[in-house]
């Protein structure tokens, strides 16, 4: 991460070319492992440590568990509920492994959605339109760059709509990402109407037979009603141009954010109907526990996790992998 991305990327490429197929496999495996350990980290706690020298569950242990849960930003209420549930089962739990298992089961039941909000994969005309939203500085543009690269690798033709016309140099930033990800881009001048950028992008995507359109939007605090109206307008214009679109409203959340992420998710969902969440910056020490509450209360799926600054540092959030990594 120290190096300029270009330097690093060219090194990686060189490495890949120099070595045989097997090393490429190792490369991808390592990436996956890194992703998994991060996935696991969302909720990882040093429960083993808590059990050292202890034989049974007592109040001081439960208090420690509560502290661990709260400091991973899961939230006070959820943490207290979890601890209470565990303490009820305490008679059946005798060691760290069982305790961990019970705790993880409880958390998983919150994360695994029975009926997640989702748009059916079939029944839509090309292109698939993904609108990316979020507050300032969570990593929308970077996530779009990574998503574009991911779809490109899957053999899809990607077009990016540079509809953040507000922040200085947001378009320039996206142009660089589009170039890296080998995606096309539609842009207007600074301070242009973002809805018109979105409209032109859809039109261009249809004309050029693209598979996916990623719509970048300016960061905005969810409490700014006027700016939320602007997002609604962008969504409206998109659906006017292409019936059924946007097919996905992806909310980007920063793992460093505390309880306010719930308010963000709620207000963005109220305004636009969020269909998926990307949780970024999981490569730090923040655990992003608030997503558990968000997924559970708003019934929105966590779809992607961002684990670094490189173009391939975006992973699908897979609940099966997640369970495997936990047990």
């Amino acid at each position: 991460m120290t190096l300029n991305w270009f330097k690093k990327h060219s090194n990686e490429k060189k490495e890949k070319q120099d070595n045989s197929d097997s090393s490429e496999k190792t490369y991808f495996f390592e990436r996956l492992k890194k992703g998994l350990s991060k996935t696991c980290k969302i909720l990882s706690t040093d429960i083993d440590e808590l059990f050292t020298g202890k034989k049974e569950i007592d109040d001081s242990l439960l208090e420690k568990v509560e502290e661990l849960l709260i400091t991973s930003d899961i939230g006070v209420q959820t943490s207290m509920d979890l601890v209470q549930k565990i303490s009820k089962k305490s008679s059946k739990i005798s060691d760290a492994i069982q305790f961990k298992h019970a705790l993880k089961e409880e958390i998983l039941s919150l994360l695994n959605l029975q009926t997640p909000k989702q748009i059916p994969e079939i029944n839509y005309t090309k292109p698939k339109v993904i609108m990316v939203i979020g507050v300032n500085g969570v990593g929308k543009t970077t996530t779009i760059g990574k998503l574009a690269a991911k779809f490109n690798l899957e053999g899809k033709k990607v077009l990016i709509a540079a509809a953040d016309t507000f922040r200085a140099a947001a378009v320039e930033q996206l142009v660089i990402w589009a170039d890296r990800a080998n995606a096309q881009i539609v842009k207007h001048k600074d301070n242009a109407d973002p809805a018109s950028v979105a409209y032109d992008s859809i039109e261009a995507a249809i004309a050029r037979d693209m598979d996916i359109v990623l719509v970048d939007t300016a960061g905005r605090l969810h409490t700014r009603v006027n700016l939320m109206e602007e997002l609604k307008k962008i969504k409206r214009i998109i659906s006017k141009k292409l019936a059924g679109a946007p097919h996905e409203i992806l909310l980007v959340l920063d793992a460093t954010t505390g309880q306010n992420a719930l308010s963000q998710a709620k207000l963005f969902d109220d305004a636009l109907g969020v269909t998926g969440i990307a949780l970024t910056k999981l490569d730090g020490t923040a655990k992003g526990g608030i997503v558990v509450s968000i997924c559970n209360t708003l019934k929105i799926q966590l779809k992607y996790i961002g684990i670094g600054e490189n173009i391939d540092d975006l992973q699908d959030f897979n609940s099966k992998d997640f369970v495997d990594a936990l047990f």
Binding site: N4, W5, V76, V135, G137, Q173
Partner: protein
């Protein structure tokens, strides 16, 4: 679903008010609620623990003063404690040492360093300094462009860094360039980085050693959760911070990170970012922040804002006009413009005590576009109409509506408001403030 900290504590103390005396039992009860409120506000677990213990000690050692209710007493204790943690007064930028002085901005990705650099430049220029912006983020795509564009918007010189350059070299060379440009304060906008990224943290140390900045500011997001403690600790241990700037304070985050960061680093929070406009940076006042958390409003900030924005000369003129009952529609428009300069009405209202408590105003959304409409209407009037609103008849209204792109209803509404204000002023001139009945204010 989630109320803000102010509301939470209000609720706690409402419960307390029911009790006659401050006993150990009802202190316990209220502190349980205070604890939850603080944790929900993202104050770090350990910090909350210590805070609660301190408050309890204070509360138990005290007798209920005769002049206060038990609820007020606890509010006061919690308020004192929060204020004490956050410091006692506002601390300004440190510009000491050899000239030009350098201020280094550091923080995580997306915390708002570049925008804050622009805001600080505006602030410094207002104070009579000559700021120089230095983009030292060679990693994030187009980060340098972003600062260059801000500099262009503000007409503030920006060092011409490129992505091929080394950040330490950039900062060193920028010092010489600043002297040539006759600037006296450098604002070093460093790249966002994770506090656990050893290489990039070492880079910051190298910049620090090379330029010996007079101030190093951690730019932190007010929405940060429990991790705020780790972030602040790492940056402070590595760089020995001079202070903190909290950004994105205009959202609905409860801002507990302020308490966490302050108590872990013991470094002053110097400024807060309160909006997307480059003028929206305010000095941090610890006592006011504590009061705000406790729902006691922030009247001082409003007064200060009004003082810095309102044109003295115009104010004197206006006073004269008011006395003579000569408040024209032109003056009405000028007043609007003055108010708008102070920031969004919603922010202003939120600082008024009682507003956050009042359910009626809770979801109040002031339509800022209304101002633009009013301005357009008045601008579409003839000078005579502006001086003498009574001549505006049906035909004239039609013309004005057409000219300003509004409807006749809009014009009727405006004229009605205006005549109300005139009436109110006449009353004021006759009987002073006492002439003003309750509920007479136009808002």
């Amino acid at each position: 679903m989630f109320d803000n900290l102010t509301d939470k504590l209000d609720l706690v103390f409402k419960k307390l008010k029911g009790h006659g005396k401050l006993t150990e039992k009802n202190i316990e009860e209220s502190l349980k609620e205070v604890r939850i409120a603080l944790l929900e506000a993202d104050v770090h677990y350990k910090v909350v623990k210590k805070l609660i213990a301190d408050i309890k000690e204070r509360a138990l050692g005290q007798e209920v003063m005769a002049s206060l209710t038990p609820g007020q007493q606890v509010v006061k204790i919690v308020n004192d404690e929060l204020t004490e943690i956050m410091g006692t007064r506002h601390e300004d930028l440190n510009l000491s040492g050899s000239k030009p002085a350098s201020i280094m901005l550091v923080g995580l990705q997306g915390s708002g360093k570049t925008t804050t650099a622009g805001k600080l430049a505006v602030l410094l220029r207002k104070k009579g300094n000559k700021p120089y912006l230095v983009p030292a983020d060679v990693y994030r795509p187009a980060a340098i462009d972003q600062l260059k564009k801000l500099g262009e918007q503000l007409s503030i010189p920006v060092y011409s860094s490129t992505v091929e350059m080394d950040p330490v070299q950039i900062c060193r060379k920028a010092g010489i360039a600043a002297q040539q440009e006759k600037c006296d304060v450098l604002l070093l906008d460093t790249a966002g980085r994770l506090h656990i990224d050893e290489n990039l943290m070492a880079e910051l140390c190298n910049i620090k050693d090379a330029v010996k900045p007079s101030d190093i500011l951690l730019i932190a997001d007010a929405m940060t959760g429990q991790d705020a403690v780790n972030i602040a600790k790492s940056f402070d241990n590595t760089l020995n911070l001079g202070g903190i700037i909290l950004t994105k304070m205009d959202g609905d985050a409860r801002g507990g990170a302020a308490i966490s960061i302050k108590s872990i680093t013991n470094k002053p929070i110097k400024f807060i970012g309160v909006g997307e406009k480059l003028s929206e940076l305010e000095p941090f006042h610890p006592d006011r922040m504590a009061s705000k958390i406790l729902g006691m409003g922030d009247v001082l900030t409003i007064i200060e804002k009004a003082q810095s924005m309102v044109d003295e000369k115009k104010a004197v003129e206006l006073e004269k006009k008011l006395r003579k009952n000569e408040f024209t529609l032109d003056d009405f428009r000028d007043q609007m413009v003055q108010i708008r300069k102070m920031g969004s009405l919603k922010d202003l209202l939120s600082m008024i005590p009682g507003f956050s408590k009042n359910k009626q105003f809770k979801n109040l959304e002031v339509d800022e576009k209304e101002f633009i409409r009013i301005e357009a209407i008045i601008n579409s009037m003839t000078p005579q109409e502006k001086r003498q609103h009574t001549i505006i008849n049906g035909n004239r209204r039609k013309r004005i509506a057409k000219g300003s792109g509004t409807s006749i209803q809009d014009i009727n509404k405006l004229l009605k408001n205006y005549t109300q204000i005139i009436k109110m002023m006449k009353k004021m001139n006759k009987g002073g403030m006492r002439g003003l009945g309750r509920g007479m204010l136009p808002f």
